[in-house]
Symmetry: C2
Subunit: 207 residues, 2 copies
């Protein structure tokens, strides 16, 4: 029986099931890649983990690169939901938003949202030497995040919530220190979290 | 003919040749691991790269873990020779030493000493979730480096070469930013290097 003999409702349900399965696989791929890196992904292993057929997973994603791109998109969505959206809802622009973003970022790494901690901390160093669409997506999201921090630091400086500062430089520093904090948390070193908070407060102290 | 029938000079030469070969393999393993990570190392691939027999390489190292540990030791030695020793010879403790260490670190990442850039930036995020002797060695060297920076920042603060600062926090920040600079350099982003220098000068400006 081919799809053309099915009623429209049945086709919709099939498509919906396919989309949901694709989403579930991509989300599991994020967990695996947060631990073993995006290069550690394999369609066969994901299928085994989730009790699906390898050919079914292959049909949904096509190539390993498409699977990697789906994982990157899924990680981004989860990150926005866990860090950026709640901080943006809870706090106005400037110092308050920066504190909220940092707090949510720390929870994101501490809890952690993905099995292996921060998805970008695990994958940027791996992909920095591999040009291609996966690297472009990873670094594009990372740039968006640093740009967001830059905008908030600019706002804080312009409204006198901080001493005069270079927003680009300060955002670069905060992001670098958050990445280092993720690594520290992974090896059970809890001294990094208070360091980030102290650093942020130093930036946000008006002169 | 077994070794026991050889004169002592011949045995010494064989051992020396073995040690040199081991060193050359470990150094090549560092280059591979700076690109693909220590988990990407394979005794077979290293043997092919260097035109050696797989069994010969296996005899020299035994297990993959021992090969990884030899690569970590080789990377550390090369890093000390490229960054720590020349900076320590050229500059007295404190601000001058911190500038020299940062300059040598930037050259180490820019040139780069290893094919894939900083060896620790490539491998710490990979091994943060893999307890064992390789992780211990990697993180032990990283701790030594941050401790070295801490000592120099303390000296700079105590002698009035910088504003009062928290040496632990400042060393943590400088190291995090150097790691982020390595990633930026790998994707051809040259804006990070002047940021590191500006950050360091901010720390080293007496109040």
């Amino acid at each position: 029986m081919s799809d053309t003999t099915l009623g429209p409702a049945t086709t919709d349900q099939r498509l919906l099931r396919g989309a949901r399965t694709r989403q579930a696989i991509a989300r599991h791929a994020v967990d695996v890649a947060s631990l073993d890196g995006l290069n550690g992904l394999s369609i066969g292993k994901l299928a085994t983990d989730l009790g699906l057929s390898k050919s079914g997973v292959a049909t949904l994603f096509g190539t390993k690169e498409k699977l990697q791109l789906a994982a990157v998109a899924s990680a981004r969505e989860a990150f926005l939901d866990a860090v950026v959206h709640p901080a943006s809802t809870a706090a106005p622009h400037g110092a308050a938003r920066l504190r909220a973003l940092t707090d949510h970022w720390i929870s994101y790494a501490e809890t952690p949202l993905f099995t292996g901690g921060c998805f970008w901390a695990a994958n940027l160093p791996d992909f920095d030497s591999r040009p291609g669409p996966v690297r472009d997506a990873l670094f594009g999201h990372h740039r968006d995040w640093v740009t967001l921090l830059t905008t908030e630091f600019r706002h804080a400086a312009e409204t006198g919530e901080s001493a005069p500062l270079d927003p680009d430089l300060t955002a670069f520093q905060l992001d670098a220190v958050l990445m280092a904090t993720n690594t520290a948390l992974r090896i059970g070193d809890n001294t990094a979290v208070p360091k980030v908070r102290r650093m942020l407060e130093t930036f946000l102290t008006p002169q």
